[in-house]
């Protein structure tokens, strides 16, 4: 509370006071931004710059006022558009000020104060404040979101003092925000304000916050007496500020084209000399086992030691399905369909299907041998 009382500026008008008063109860309600900011320990630098208090809390006030206004407006216009209000709330909630950029903010806010002071000077002079704003809107080229404009009007109406001025100020803020986003999208000239506004929108992860807190708390000193930790941590934080994947591409590196390796070696099979050379290399590089584990590994590679868990079907599994083992009738096509030979072959097949020790190939070989044998004996059989 003391910061607000101290930070009474000459430029601060009655509306400012109103906003600040409103911010009092509203800050308790607010979830993001303001509460967190005030909870932070006030360093010496902040205390030195009395204006900075206003500076740091001004935007806070504006956001809090907006939040309060949006709360009010949301209550008034319930059924019409709830999600855009929530979106607005979210947007404003994310628009926080990072403590590390305090000096930059100070500059920004002084500029803002000057601008708003000029606006205020113009404001009471001109009677038609609202039509002027509309012309300015048209001049910008991009009309503001009508819902936002409605919200702004609701805010202005809710506040007791000088509705037109508050409305104009809020609209100006909105417009500036939209301008910066547009410029960012188009990729125009980088203004400090735009950069800061973009950075402000970004959310600070709890990891980063922890890092910063830890940095403040524990400062390790080198042998020379210089600080080592902050230097180490700064590149990390700068990386996190600038996201790796976001932003425009520089097009410095070209994608490595995956060229198909057409250049095949003329010698298709490796020569004896190549094999010999490979064997030599393997023999030279093979280190004797350092411990029992490596010895066991070597044995397993050689085949002396089995692989665990023991697979009972190590040499037997030929990858054939069970139906290939059991249903062998399709191989009986070369045999006569009637007669003792057919009967005999069916028995053979029955026996083979029950044999788990033979592979499918071996079974087929058996049947083929029988086929050949009976074909050779055909003339003999016909004599009978």
């Amino acid at each position: 509370m003391w910061s607000r009382v101290r930070g009474w500026d000459a430029a601060g008008g009655p509306c400012r006071l109103a906003m600040r008063l409103l911010a009092g109860p509203a800050s308790g309600r607010e979830a993001a931004g303001a509460a967190r900011r005030e909870g932070r320990p006030h360093s010496k630098i902040q205390k030195l710059f009395s204006t900075s208090n206003i500076v740091s809390t001004e935007k806070d006030k504006s956001t809090t006022s907006k939040d309060s206004s949006t709360d009010v407006s949301s209550k008034s216009q319930e059924g019409t558009a709830e999600t855009p209000k929530q979106k607005l709330l979210d947007i404003i909630g994310h628009m926080k000020v990072e403590v590390s950029y305090r000096t930059k903010l100070q500059q920004l806010k002084t500029r803002e104060i000057k601008k708003q002071a000029t606006n205020k000077l113009e404001g009471p002079d001109s009677e038609g404040a609202v039509p002027r704003r509309t012309t300015e809107d048209i001049q910008r080229g991009k009309p503001l979101n009508p819902e936002l404009v409605e919200a702004v009007s609701a805010v202005a109406s809710s506040l007791p003092l000088n509705k037109k001025q508050t409305e104009s100020e809020l609209l100006a803020q909105l417009r500036r925000h939209e301008e910066t986003t547009d410029k960012q999208k188009r990729g125009g000239t980088i203004h400090l304000r735009n950069v800061i506004s973009e950075m402000a929108i970004k959310r600070q992860s709890p990891a980063q916050r922890g890092v910063m807190l830890s940095r403040r708390i524990s400062l390790e000193f080198d042998e020379d007496g210089r600080r080592t930790k902050p230097e180490r941590l700064s590149p990390q934080s700068s990386d996190s500020r600038r996201s790796l994947k976001g932003g425009r591409r520089l097009n410095i590196f070209t994608k490595a084209s995956t060229e198909p390796e057409n250049a095949l070696k003329t010698v298709s099979s490796p020569t004896i000399w190549d094999l010999e050379f490979a064997k030599e290399i393997a023999a030279v590089t093979a280190q004797p086992p350092r411990n029992g584990f490596e010895e066991m590994i070597q044995w397993t590679k050689e085949g002396i030691l089995w692989e665990f868990p023991i697979d009972n079907e190590i040499g037997m599994d030929d990858g054939a399905e069970f139906h290939e083992h059991i249903f062998l009738e399709k191989h009986l096509e070369g045999f006569p369909k009637q007669g003792p030979i057919r009967h005999f072959m069916e028995l053979v097949i029955c026996g083979l299907s029950k044999n788990p020790y033979l592979s499918v190939k071996q079974k087929i070989e058996h049947i083929e041998w029988f086929q050949k044998y009976f074909e050779e004996k055909k003339e003999f059989l016909q004599e009978i």
Partner: protein, 128 residues
């Protein structure tokens, strides 16, 4: 050239130094009977399938007898050493035809010799 020479030297050193393996190297069979037994085993392995198939035709009640007689003749024409009956489980080390334990393929004397020198895994003097 230098690299290969170095490789040779290294390999030689590694071969000699870390693992001096010394055991009996058998380049001959113990006696001629063992050699004949080895030949019989090889042939039996070669003709195993054929003998099985021909025997399947022979030991049959479905097929005509003439066919079975032909099969008899065929199997008799196979080499004599191809039948598995002629294989004798001799001792691997001494070629002793009798007193051979099948699990260790050793005759009783050799088995006893190794067991007493604690060179048989899991073998202990029985006492009960």
């Amino acid at each position: 050239m230098a690299a290969s020479a170095l490789g040779w030297a290294l390999r030689a050193a590694r071969q000699v130094l870390p693992l001096p393996r010394t055991w009996q190297v058998r380049s001959y069979y113990v006696d001629w009977r063992m050699l004949r037994d080895v030949k019989r085993r090889k042939l039996a392995y070669e003709y195993a399938d054929e003998r099985l198939r021909i025997n399947a035709i022979r030991k049959n009640t479905i097929l005509p007898k003439e066919l079975q007689e032909v099969a008899d003749k065929e199997i008799a024409n196979l080499p004599r050493d191809s039948c598995p009956v002629r294989i004798r489980n001799r001792c691997v080390l001494t070629s002793r035809p009798r007193g051979v334990k099948r699990r260790w393929r050793l005759s009783r004397i050799v088995f006893r010799h190794f067991a007493d020198h604690a060179q048989m895994s899991g073998i202990q003097r029985a006492m009960w």
